[in-house]
């Protein structure tokens, strides 16, 4: 029993059980190598998700190399060159749940529903981004080589 529980936690299936919309994944080192649900990402869609001020809201905390964007934040590191610094697997893990790499991470977990406190009813049980959204953003960020 204990072994089964441990395996479930490792695969992230505990999260999947709590909300249908969270895809299973396997963490290795500080990355998640396999695309969620085996989905292919679109960098173009990912760029739109990153710029969306209503949903992902990445730009309240980060800058991206795009002179058309104003009022970007500086709580997180600039995303310029992130595709050269991190592998797609490392980026995927930081989007799904950065506390998997660093328990004190400030960045929100974008594909997690388990273990969150006082979530407003409108968003309870739903991750911020779907598996497809995550893969799109991974594709966009991986292409930011400088």
């Amino acid at each position: 029993m204990r072994i089964v529980l441990a395996a479930v936690a490792l695969l992230g299936l505990a999260a999947a059980a709590a909300g249908q919309e969270v895809a299973p994944f396997v963490v290795s080192g500080d990355g998640i190598a396999a695309p969620l649900g085996g989905l292919a990402g679109s960098a173009e869609r990912g760029g739109r998700i990153v710029r969306n001020r209503e949903t992902a809201n990445c730009l309240i905390c980060h800058t991206i190399p795009d002179p058309a964007e104003a009022f970007m934040g500086e709580v997180g590191p600039p995303l310029a060159g992130v595709g050269a610094r991190l592998t797609p697997g490392q980026i995927r893990l930081r989007l799904i749940d950065p506390t998997l790499a660093n328990p004190d991470a400030v960045m929100p977990a974008y594909h997690r529903v388990a273990g969150l406190a006082h979530v407003d009813a409108r968003w309870r049980g739903r991750p911020v981004l779907s598996a497809q959204d995550i893969e799109d953003v991974v594709a966009y960020l991986s292409a930011l080589k400088e």
Binding site: C61, G73, V75, V106, P108, L116, A117, V119, R122, R124
Partner: protein
Amino acid sequence: MRAAIALALVLAAAAAGAGEVRAPATFLSPDLRALQDDPSRHPGWLWVDSGEAHWRAPPAGGRPSCQGCHGDIGGMRGVATRYPQVADDGRLLNLEGRIETCRSRHQQAPAFGYESEPLLSLTAAVALQSRGLPTAVATDGPAASFVAEGRRLFETRMGQLNLSCAQCHEANVGRRLRGDVISSGIGTGFPAYRLEWNTMGSLHRRLRACSLGVRATQFSLGSPEYLALELYLAARAQGLPIEAPGLRR
């Protein structure tokens, strides 16, 4: 010019100092700060004027006005520095709660209601009497457990975005979050006139905005959670001047 740069560096260094709580005014743009200091241009003074009128007006039913028992509102000097405070009956009261208690207990009149114009006005007018005086809340004795609860809430990650108050208002003070510079997150400027609201609002209304920002449950105005947080914020602000009525973006 060189002096301005040196000052900016000093301010930047102060922003980096971990654990240091700074007065909200030090985070305001020079324009907003000047406006906050100028009663002739600060729209919050409309509420102060109306609060002073409420102070003098007797309620229906023959009970005394606030002034009838307390005298001139100038006698409220220093009172706001000591709130929130635990009352004799063990309840934690902020200034709004204290005024509502007088309203029902001593004026035997129906409560104004949180965020109502008369309560915001009276709170602003009473708080103004302490403008510039150092925050001095009691944190020991019966207040200690409320302070501890407030601290626990302040440090708990909440909402779909999984962020605690402390992660923004301690770990990221001075950084830009979209158009805002993150301050130490204390309540000394409230009630405040917020341009985004186009009106005066209470500290609890501001806290509801922060909760919504991380997609967390918004506790109700006057809830035990926000009261405990308010006391913890005041404990963090101990010694810093009351700025109410504040002026905010």
